[in-house]
Symmetry: C2
Subunit: 480 residues, 2 copies
């Protein structure tokens, strides 16, 4: 790619023969753009976002036409059975009489309103008189986002990348191609309108592009795959670049011996049925043996799940209890309650099905979760604060919940204002990832010519290591 910055992205997005695109050059351009973004002021970054909203509004019809073209093609694919109805729906950018479109534009405004995640002083130490250390947040650099179907992701992710001072390379699905290009053109126009590099947001197409970019660990700092578990696993296996995300979302709800069974039923139903295809939906229900013995399971919790249309895959004890109750026995007869196989406890059903098992106590529940869970979100229902604390502290997951539905695990519900994904990683960002997950930090040392030798010499200078209070005035020196 020997063309200029603006040209390179165009080459990438319009190339028909993948061999024509030099992905190393493309990634290098993104790196250069990322370094320029690193120095952009908050005012400039917000101006780019405001321009983005305006550009999108002005070009609404053009984008709608591109989307209509994708939808027309997709409609024939649905008819021939090569595309699902749900994928088709997600393609529609102007759905609900433009409500989706307006929500998208408002979303860009919301990002303008979020605080700057960069240039925040998170540590300040006086190493010695006239020798100060500051840890200051800064953009990570270059993000590679791989997503499927929903074209509005281009706008949402671009907004988050611009706000956080990162460059981003976006790879979307082929079926949304025309819509993605139309949206991307406006993102680049908005960047150019405030003199930010167009290559700060690059759109690529084609499956070949993915592997070529996964090899660019010199220029790309993090990969965020948003899609199926198999996509995420494939990407983790194929790159040295850190991957932020989650393959599985195998969440559990544990109902303790000391619990309000009505609350337990409510939480189990919401966790399972509110949106079964979500990664934060519950897939496993762990019931304390006392709740089975007391009848809470057979008389309250199971009937609530069955009424909500849930199929129960039960271990022996929880199944046996349901035989003793007429209503639930009928559910066994009609096949809405079936015996669980061992594999059911490792399955992300993503549908109105849940695996159910009896456990002796909170420790057994955690042992089950640690053996079968994915470290996403785990809930306990209990009225005993000590048992809750054992669970909240001991369970190894991004979310540990006490008396609340697992479905709360979401960047918007957490108040982050935006979400770039959900991570089950043990490093960097864990759980719902907002703008804070897109920054790292650098250490600034400010001296007056000091050398290490002066401090190492016998009788030499001594380090003070006094904390510097990060007052508004101190912070202000970095925020601009």
């Amino acid at each position: 790619m020997s063309t200029n910055a603006a040209g390179s992205a165009t080459t990438a997005t319009t190339a028909t023969a993948p061999a024509a695109v030099d992905y190393t050059a493309l990634a290098r351009s993104a790196r250069a753009a990322g370094r320029a973004m690193q120095t952009a002021s908050l005012a400039t970054r917000n101006a780019a976002l405001t321009a983005l909203k305006q550009h999108l509004a002005t070009h609404r019809d053009e984008i709608a036409r591109a989307n209509a073209a994708n939808l027309a093609e997709a409609r024939t694919m649905v008819a021939s059975g090569s595309l699902s109805e749900s994928t088709f729906k997600r393609l529609d950018l102007m759905g609900d009489k433009d409500a989706k479109w307006h929500a998208l534009l408002e979303g860009v405004d919301d990002v303008v309103g979020l605080p700057d995640p960069t240039n925040k002083v998170t540590l300040a130490t006086k190493l010695d008189d006239g020798l100060e250390l500051y840890r200051v947040t800064c953009p990570i650099g270059v993000l590679l986002i791989i997503f499927e179907a929903r074209p509005e992701v281009v706008v949402q992710i671009s907004a988050l990348a611009i706000k956080s001072g990162n460059a981003v390379i976006l790879k979307g699905g082929k079926e949304a191609s025309a819509t993605l290009r139309a949206l991307h053109a406006q993102v680049q126009a908005a960047l150019a309108s405030v003199n930010l590099p167009r290559d700060a947001v690059t759109l690529i197409e084609g499956r070949d592009a993915v592997q070529a970019l996964l090899d660019q660990d010199k220029y790309i700092d993090v990969v965020i795959p948003r899609g199926s578990a198999s996509l995420v696993r494939h990407i983790k296996d194929s790159t040295r670049i850190p991957v932020l995300g989650h393959a599985d979302g195998l969440c559990s709800v544990y109902i303790d011996a000391e619990s309000d069974v009505d609350m337990a039923a409510r939480i189990a139903v919401d966790s399972k049925t509110n949106y079964p295809a979500a990664c934060n939906a519950a897939e496993t229900l762990l019931v304390n043996e006392k709740v089975v013995k007391s009848g809470g399971w057979a008389k309250v919790i199971a009937p609530a799940l069955l009424s909500a249309g849930v199929t129960l895959k039960c271990d022996e004890a929880t199944l046996a209890a349901l035989r003793t109750n007429d209503a639930t026995a009928a559910a066994i007869t009609r096949g809405q309650v079936v015996p669980a196989t061992p594999a059911d406890f490792d399955t992300e059903f993503l549908s109105l099905t849940i695996a159910v098992r009896v456990v002796t106590d909170v420790h057994a529940a955690m042992a089950h979760i640690h053996e079968h869970g994915s470290g996403h979100t785990e809930a306990i229902v209990t009225s005993n604060a000590e048992t809750a604390e054992t669970f909240l502290r001991g369970v190894d997951a991004a979310g540990a919940y006490w008396n609340a539905s697992t479905r709360f695990a979401d960047g918007f519900r957490y108040g982050f204002g935006a979400e770039i994904g959900v991570s089950t990683n043990k490093t960097h960002a864990r759980g719902p990832v907002g703008l804070e997950g897109l920054v790292i930090y650098k250490y600034r040392v400010v001296g007056k010519g000091q050398t290490v030798a002066e401090y190492a010499a016998p009788g030499g200078r001594k380090y003070l290591h006094e904390p510097i209070a990060v007052t508004e005035a101190v912070q202000k020196r970095f925020s601009h």
Copy 2:
């Protein structure tokens, strides 16, 4: 590995045939131990450290004998040329009349005195009345540390892992084997003495072990290689587990047009010569063309470096300037100043050699650093605050320094009290990594039975998203 927790590590450390060790089982045991460490109170973790110091002191002679055996063997290897004198020196645990040993024991005490990196509330939000969100730091889980030569690393890393509530698998060099085992035995005894699992610190041997463990991404959360650039690169290429560390340390010092040349000379000399083998030593000197023209380079900076015994590999402009000055011309004649090759600017010399290049301004300096640097530590010498700010904000590195030696990039000098390594990663921990790099966080949600459906319904409940002040009282609920 079907033996108990204590037995499993012993099996690993005493196995002579690598095939006898089941590394999956070993990693799984470490994971289980890590989960137990996760719930250990600060008091218990500190008690383990205090016990460790006592056990080491009590078993000093036994450890010294093991070390003497390693040294005797190493001495013959030095004689035959198969081991370097510097590696030999680093093997000596009781060097300087036990001063090294006593410093090691004091180091364990220092870790007891450090604040708990876990159970810190870093975000608290009232999602709604009776529905609260807390982000609380917690151990990462299982660390794999691969190191060379220095046996005291076993004690230092064990102390940091115990303090931060992590389990750790340690792989040291063969030449220190007896010493490592003797130290490790005391670490495990200390853990057992406070009822923490012995498998929280596992010692392994043999090269085969490394690859077998790099495959255990289900059980190991982060790998920290401490060793040569080739070791680090090999590990990054061989695992899906996140790697925390740095391959290269190619640091630069840029001397701006507006700078005090005496200060510049002082910083250049310290950055290069204070400890040339360190990763934070400068390898490249970038000199503003005005400093070359003014004579500051030929008359002050270059002579200072030459007097300190540094060999200068110069580009044309900086070399030409040295011909105009008698003293420096003599250095050219005796070969202490030589022309630079392009490769010199990509070389980590790790010796008293530095590559020198002229640049037009701070932007050219940053462009050079971004093309050739390793993102470790970069310094600017300037009296112009605006130029400094351009550099500090724009340079993409873990450390950005103004008028200070690159050699300050170190966990102890930063006041972290301890250092597990230095990272040039762009995610998780960057720069010198202390205890904070060994923790991640989890989100705790505490409710009263709330469901997401209540908030999604038209006219339903609204999220408040009010910040909760993290007072001492709030923090105290989590610190125990």
